[in-house]
Amino acid sequence: MFYREAGQFKTSYAADQQIFPIRQDRVGMALLLAIAYGVVPLIGNDYWFTAIMIPFLILSLAALGLNILTGYAGQLSLGTAGFMAVGAFAAYNFILRIPEMPFLLAFVLAGLTAALVGILFGLPSLRIKGFYLAVATLAAQFFIEWALIKFGWFTNYSPSGVIDAQTMTLFGFALDTPLEKYLLTLTIVSVLALAAKNLMRCETGRAFMAIRDMDVAAEVIGIPMLKTKLLAFAISSFYCGVAGALYAYAYLGTVEPQAFDLNRSFQVLFMIIIGGMGSILGSFLGAAFITLLPILLNVVAHAVFGGAVRTAILSNLELVIFGGLIIFFLAVEPHGLARLWHIAKEKLRLWPFPY
C-alpha cells in the first residue's frame, strides 16, 4: 500500500533508469535531505553536531568506502583505518606545504593519495583472495601507522606525532563552528554517497559485482581482472581517505596516527557486516548502529540508573547489551540491517493485504 507502484508508468529510458524509480523513494529521499539540511541545523545544538552527527556521517563514509571494496567487489580488507590515516595526514601536509591551498582541493588530493596507496596494497589481490587478502591488507594497516610514527616529516616534526588540523577556509570564510562543520560533512558525504550509488549502477559497478560473485566467470566474459580489482581498491581508498581527512578536520581537530589503529578498521568492517554488505544504505545503518548505539545505551543507562548503580557496572553493562544486540541482529538477519529495511519495504508494498 505504502509502496504501491500502480499508476507510476515509465515512458522513457530516462525515467526507467533514474536512481529511485519509485515515487515514494524519491519523496522519502527528498524529505531526508530536507531534514538533514533544514531541520537538524534548526533544532540541533553543539552536542548533536559534534558528538553525534559529524562522527556518524564520517564513519558512514568510511563504511561506504569499505563496502565498495568488500561488499560490491568482494575483496576483503582490513586496511580501512590505514587509508583513512593516509587521507588525514595527506590533507594536513598539502595544506601545510602548499600555500594558498584550498582545503576542498586538499581533501580531493588526500583522497587521491589514499587511492594511490590503496592500489599499491591492492596488488596482492590479483593473486590471493578471501581471508588471505585480508591478512595482506593488514600489512597496509600496520605499515601506514608505523610509517606515520617513524618519519617525522609526515607530522611536521611534532614531538608527539600529533597533528593539529588547520582552519578550513572557504572563499575567505572560516568554517569553524560545529554547524558549519556539520553542513560541510553532510554535503561531502551526500555527494559521495550519490556518486557511489550511481557507480554501482553503471558498468564499473556491475564488473565489481561480477568479480565478487565469481571471478573466473567474470574473466571469461571479458572483464579485465587487473584493472577492475585495482580500481575497486582505488575508489574504496579514495572514500576512506576523504573520510580520514574529515575525521581530522571536521571532527577531532587534532589527530594522531593511533586514531586510525586496527580497532578502527575492525569497527568499519563490523559496520558493513551489520549494516549490510553491498548496500549503500547499509553503510549508513551500520555506522549508526556501531557508533551511536553505545552512546545511546550510555545516555539511557545514566538516565535510568544514574546514581543508583556503580558506574563501573553501568559501563560493563553497556558493552554486554551492545554485544548482545549485535548477536541478536545477526541472528535475525545475517544479511544486515539494510536487508531488514528491504523486507519491511516488501511488506509495506503488500500491506494491508498480504497474500
Partner: protein, 464 residues
Amino acid sequence: MKRDAFKFYGMGLALTGALAGALAAAQVRAAEQFIPMLSYRVGPYAPGGSGFFGGYIDYLDMINKRDGGVNGVKLTWEECETEYKNDRGVECYERLKGKGPTGGTVFTPLSTGITYSLIERATTDKIPVISMGYGRTDASDGRIFPYIFPLVTNYWSQNTAKIKFIGMREGGMDKLKGKKIVNLYHGSAYGKETIPVLDLQAKKYGFEVKHIEVPHPGNEQQSQWLEIRRYKPDWVILRGWGVMNPTALKTAQKVGFPADRIVGVWWSGAEEDVIPAGDAAKGFISAAFHPSGRDFPVIQDILKYVYGSGSRGNMTDQSRIGQQYYNRGVIQGILTVEAIRTAQEKFGKGKSLTPEQVRWGIENLNIDEKRIRQLGAFGLLQPLKVSCFDHEGGGAVKFQQWDGERWKVISDWIASDQSIVRPMIEESAAKYAKEKGIKPREGISLGSDCGHYSENLKKIVSGG
C-alpha cells in the same frame, strides 16, 4: 464543559506554580559546583581509570561530607565512560560541558589523546583542562595555551629529573660521560615525546642514547631485549604503558638484565605494572610525582568520612586505596578543590563559579608547604606555584623502588632542569601559535603576569 475548561486552566496554573516553585528551589540550592568526569572503567586501561577516578571522586565526596563543600558550595559530578578512546572522549566532553548550574568546571581526561582532542574545543568554550603528568608538554606555556594545565610536572621535566637521578646513582653528572642508556619506548605519540629531550641531554652530558621502539601494545619484546643485551647499556629507561611494562620486566629477567638498572616513567610505576611481572619486578625503579601509601592524613580522612560508618565510597576493592593511581586521583581532587577555593577568594565565596573563573583559580594556584600540611598531604604533594608563564607549577620528581611487596621511595624531590626544558617548551609552543595564528597573551592579562617574549620567539610566532 465549561467546568472542564476551568479545571484544565486550574491545573495549568497549578503546574506553572509548581514549576516556578521548583525553579525557585533550584535557585536557593544553586550553590553547586559541577565537575565533569571523563572516566574509563572498561577496556585495556581500566585499572588506571578506576583507581584514578575512584580517588578523585572519593576526595570530592570527603570534602562534601567533612566540610560541607567548598565554603558551602556542594561539589557535584557525573561520570561518562570514554573507554580511553578519543572519539568517545569528545562525545563525553560535549555531553557534560553544559551540565550543572554553570557548566562543567574542569576536565581531567587522564588520556594524552583525549587531552589533545580537547585543546581547541576547551579553548573555544573557555573551560580549563588539567592534564596532570600527561598530555601536551608544551602546553606548560600558558601564554599560548591559556586553558590547558599540565600541572605538577610534564614528560620533559620528568626526563631531566630521571637523568639527574641516574647521574646521582653514578656518582655525579660528570660520570655520565661515555655511559650508554637505552630509551625503550612505546610506539605511540606518548612514547615518542621524550626522544628530543633525551638527545639534547645526551649531547650535554656526553652519554650515548639509543632509542628502541616497542610496537603497541608491547606484549612481545624478545628482539628488543636481545638488542639491548648486545648493546650492553648501563641503564634502560622504560617508557612503557599498560601491558608493555610487566612484559618488559619479565623479558629483561629472561635475558639477564638487572631490574634495578631499569628506570620507568610514572606510567610504568603503579602496582598494576609490577605485580603481574612477579619476581622479575623486584628492584625495578620508577619515577613518581607522588608516593603510594595510606598514612597521609588526607587518605585517613577519606577512610573515615567516606568509607567509615558503613557508607559506600567509590572503590569496590578497598585494598587499592593508597595505591599509585588512587593517590594520583586524590591529588587531582586536591588541585581541583584548591583551584575552586582560590577562585572563590576572588570572585565571591559560596557561589557557583563559571569555568572561566575556575581557570583563573588554577592559574593562580599557590600551594606552599604550609598549605600542604593543612591539607594533610605532606609528602604526597609537592609545592606548586602556577602562573600564566608556567602552567606546570612544580616539576619535581621522586623515585621509588619495588621491593616485591610495595613501592618504597628512594629519593627526595628531584627538581627538573628547566634550563633544558623551558626553551624547548617555548619553541614548540611558539611553533603551535604560528601554525594556529594565536596571539600569545602578554604582560598583565586576566590578572596574572604573563611575562614577556624574547625577540627570538616573537619572530617565530610572527613567521619571521
